[in-house]
Symmetry: C2
Subunit: 415 residues, 2 copies
């Protein structure tokens, strides 16, 4: 089975320079496609690329009040400005604009409302001790957004250009970037299809936009371990599906299983996959499990592999990188491998389960105390008076040190 | 494994009367959920139901020109009016409004742009020979929309009330309902989440809207058989997933495989499932296969079963109903069963494959000539000078007879 990435590398995937109206379900559709695909790469390259040098800025005349840091709620209030870039199949990327934060005016037939042509990223801007604003591995977010958009026939873009322009926006709105560990400006780059017709086909127009929301610490009073409910009646992702892309499509279907878990007192659900009940993700976070090997006693930090059923998390990748650099010399094994729920249960029962934590941009790490599974509560290794294990704690500190510039590191990007 | 439907019947699913701000990824989230779920059914029932008697109508002052029937393109032009009903978790359904067709004004943080809180229906209004406008089995669309919305934590509604109000809208815009067989007014009921925050949780507000687009025949010059490419590198749906719901989430990811098929000259792709390569759907249509039994020679009309990997199509259900009523007495077997691609290939090779066709609201039936599979072209039973098989042809005529009121039938609903 060839992956879409393989196909793309081989040039087998279309260049998404399809004509505007794309009535796939009409008899003339095939001719239209053929016309579209006969475009030479040369013709495609005449389309305008995303160009940061063309950025225009219109400042707000009604600046908002900055919310006191203690009152911040994730994704509820936004800064004064937003970044918008339109794309059309005829012309490519239009001139980028920073404007006052404002509503979109959209035709009810716009394809984003009907067929989920939408993908996004979550990333943060941090103020270091000198007041300098920094991003964390923004190139990873750009690469992933391009993978996501290609999978749903939305256009690709120059990631460096977008990072540059987000930097301009963050500088313009820097008074909204809260100071202090745990505080940051959450950035939400989003791409949506904007074609105003109901035929199912590649959108002939799109909009790339970035909004920003100041946020406080995920755990305002220090870590608070959560408990998970293993979900066996719903499946989030599958091989050959799109669960490894950051598409809107992956999120709405997650809410009912989360509500289910929550109604029984669990903060998140744990997605199992297949008859083998492989652990995959926790809610919308990647999952890490620290166990002692049954035979050798060696400590091992395990996370599920990128097999198409989990998101390619930036925090996941950072934790793996740091673990290989800083835990392996201490004797740890670090593995991207499949792990059955039964293996987690066995390790717990034998006292070999050291810790379990979720990983994502919002919390960095989210320690897990218990997992509800087939009517039993699986103990994940935390002591009763403990809210986080040693590895989760170290990872949070190591990553924050880099994010807030207390450790100079190539992952930190100065705006 | 319990299905969500089973859970819902047992009252285990929440009532979606969750509070407005639902920051699942903050530490206080669980308390919020618990408060939400402790609402008694009595409290929930105090929320306003969808009430057709409260419908207000604001007529357009700038009526559009009606497009000549021959120039109609599916989903490209719309009628003068639209129907909108807002919902909030606090109050339930607000007063329904028919207004001039107009743009939405939406905050860029609205959850429909980020997490694909969106589901829809496709249905048609037909003018009969007396000029009376009719719908076709609208109750089925309403039931399905309610199933779809519940699966993504959007509210349910009274389907009869919505049918009534769509009737009002169609009457108001009746000059846009084109006359003649094959012509109709396509109706697109859609529900979207409208909460303006980035936390992933059940939307505290939603919008149910209906827009309408006049459409011409799918095959303006008579049937034109299509060819399919079997897709083995991408998977549309999975048991326990949401592929059986009419969610926006299921559509954007289908476009690249369609483009792939199209780039090699095939009008649609054919979704296979699993190692067994079960046939499931063709593009966005259900699939029917007519074969002769190897041993007995009995003719059998087969369609894949509702196992969660295919959409519960209204046309599919209608074809099954008519087949059981009209083909079984003629000696046919009618089966909802899994069918491997290898069984289709074998039947073709042995001259037992009678016909293959897609089924959906747009075309009713869409005959298939060939399927590209592992480098071979599988002949689907049509003669060279034939564009449709006997069963596809009969089904189209039988269903159109009912849709256009030439046969009186309980499936036809007078507006």
């Amino acid at each position: 089975m060839k992956s879409l990435q393989q196909l793309a590398r081989r040039g087998a995937l279309p260049r998404y320079t399809a004509p505007r109206a794309m009535p796939l379900n009409r008899s003339g559709a095939n001719r239209l496609w053929q016309r579209s695909f006969s475009q030479t790469p040369a013709a495609a390259s005449q389309l305008a690329a995303l160009d940061a040098s063309k950025l225009s800025i219109t400042k707000t005349t009604t600046p908002k009040e900055v919310i006191p840091p203690k009152e911040l709620v994730f994704g509820k209030t936004f800064t004064d400005h937003m970044l918008c870039i339109e794309w059309t199949a005829e012309d490519g990327w239009h001139e980028p604009r920073i404007t006052p934060y404002q509503n979109f005016s959209m035709d009810p037939a716009t394809c984003v409302f009907h067929y989920a042509f939408e993908c996004f990223e979550g990333m943060k801007a941090y103020k270091d001790k000198n007041g300098q604003v920094r991003l964390f591995r923004p190139d990873k977010n750009m690469a992933r957004l391009n993978k996501s958009s290609a999978r749903i026939a939305l256009p690709n873009f120059d990631g460096e250009a977008l990072i540059k322009m987000m930097g301009e926006m963050v500088k313009l709105d820097s008074r909204f970037v809260p100071e202090g560990r745990g505080y940051s400006l959450y950035l939400r780059p989003t791409m949506i299809g904007t074609q105003k017709t109901l035929g199912v086909g590649p959108p002939g127009s799109a909009l790339l936009f970035v909004i920003a929301s100041p946020v406080g610490p995920y755990y305002p009073t220090g870590f608070k371990a959560i408990s998970l409910e293993a979900t066996d009646y719903a499946v989030r992702a599958w091989p050959g599906g799109v669960g490894d892309k950051k598409l809107g499509a992956n999120y709405a279907p997650c809410v009912v299983p989360q509500l289910q878990a929550s109604s029984r007192g669990f903060q998140q659900n744990l997605w199992l996959f297949g008859e083998e009940e492989y652990v995959t993700e926790s809610g919308t976070m990647n999952l890490f499990i620290a166990v002692k090997n049954k035979e050798t006693g060696q400590k091992e930090l395990v996370t599920p592999p990128l097999d198409g059923t989990i998101l390619e998390g930036v925090t996941r990748d950072s934790i793996l990188g740091l673990a290989r650099e800083r835990l392996v010399p201490k004797g740890w094994a670090v593995s991207e491998r499949k792990m059955r729920m039964s293996e987690v249960v066995e390790a717990s029962e034998e006292g070999r389960l050291l810790e379990v934590f979720g990983a994502g941009t919002a919390a960095i790490v989210s320690p897990v105390r218990k997992i509800s599974y087939k009517g039993n509560l699986v103990d994940c290794g935390l002591k009763e008076n403990e809210e986080a294990g040693e590895i989760a704690l170290s990872m949070k500190n190591w990553i924050e040190d880099i994010q807030y510039g207390d450790e100079e590191h190539q992952w930190s990007y100065r705006v």
